[in-house]
């Protein structure tokens, strides 16, 4: 992770893509969201979704995996250059999560984010707050997912 001091409003990051398979969709739904339209093709056809689609929480989880992998790659590159990656603190939460369109079985969703707000933390001078909007776009170019995440990111020592 870059240090807070090296991040700018408007910074864009592309996290990569994930393809949601039938098997994965059903497995996630069996554990966490066993509604008919996430579990069974026939029941999904009769539902308002019209076909088997992923739990909205499966989309958020798959996005998180791509974000973690992205930061691991970035950290490895920084270490290879002899730099120390910044620490990231536990996130306090998120706002404005939107499941704009169903993510159907076989869909490939690309996730990317843009920084839209930054502020130093008065109470903890070694940390800054960064807010970013992450967007998921399917293979047809349709925006299916949107969320505003908040992260605590380490500042460079003064």
């Amino acid at each position: 992770m870059k240090f807070f001091d090296d991040i700018r409003i408007g910074d864009l990051r592309e996290f990569g893509k994930h393809t949601f398979t039938v098997e994965e969709i059903k497995r996630f739904a069996e554990s966490f969201d066993p509604q008919p339209f996430h579990l069974d093709e026939e029941a999904a056809k009769r539902s308002h979704f019209g076909a088997l689609c992923a739990s909205g929480w499966h989309t958020t989880a798959a996005c998180m995996r791509l974000i973690v992998d992205y930061h691991k790659r970035l950290a490895a590159e920084m270490i290879a250059r002899g730099e120390q990656p910044a620490k990231i603190g536990p996130s306090p939460g998120f706002t404005n999560l939107k499941w704009l369109k169903p993510v159907y079985a076989g869909d490939t969703v690309a996730f990317a984010s843009e920084v839209f707000e930054m502020r130093p933390m008065a109470s903890r001078p070694q940390w800054g707050v960064v807010r970013m909007r992450t967007i998921g776009t399917n293979q047809k170019g349709e925006r299916v997912y949107e969320i505003e995440n908040t992260a605590f990111i380490e500042r460079r020592a003064a």
Binding site: P34, A61, P90, K98, P102
Partner: protein, 166 residues
């Protein structure tokens, strides 16, 4: 979301709780459900492979001070509590999103989680006479009565009687 009128009513013909049944101010508790160490690690291995969610020793050195569930795992557990307690016994049509989630406290192995759900408000758009939106606040509580997660979100529910609604 897609709107397929009559199909919704076939799918939900046997369901019990409809849009009309929600009353502002009503509070219901769903659960509890216990979260195991194995589940925490399995979820994190697939979706959030960071040290504080994967390994007890590595987690002790992080700001969370010990192994804790991914925040996305907490959200997924909340979904399961809401599914078993409400969605599967109702005319639920899913949710368009979540206005806000606050991760207030870590979820630890062995924690027993319940969802305390308050109906804040409801509205029935004229343009979609067969359904309505119910605004909820869901607080997820651990066995000590501490709120570990708070969520505010609208749920979509079909009405009991579409003809009457039209």
């Amino acid at each position: 979301m897609l709107d397929r009128g009559a199909a919704i009513f076939n799918l939900f013909a046997m369901s019990r709780i409809y849009f009309e049944d929600f009353v502002a101010g009503a509070v219901t508790i769903y659960g509890p459900r216990t979260v195991t160490r194995q589940e925490i690690i399995a979820f994190a291995s697939e979706f959030d492979p960071q040290p504080m969610h994967l390994d007890e020793e590595a987690a002790k050195k992080t700001m969370l001070g010990g192994l804790s569930a991914s925040g996305w795992h907490s959200c997924a557990i909340m979904m399961r509590l809401l599914c078993d307690g409400l969605a599967l016994h109702s005319s639920s049509m899913g949710a368009p999103g979540v206005d806000e989630v606050k991760w207030l406290k870590p979820v630890r192995p062995g924690d027993s989680l319940s969802a305390r759900v308050t109906v804040l408000d409801k509205r029935a758009p004229k343009t979609r006479p067969h359904m309505g939106f119910v605004q909820f606040r869901c607080e997820m509580l651990n066995q000590h009565g501490e709120v570990v997660l708070e969520a505010n979100y609208p749920g979509m529910f079909a009405k009991r009687n579409r003809e009457a609604a039209e």
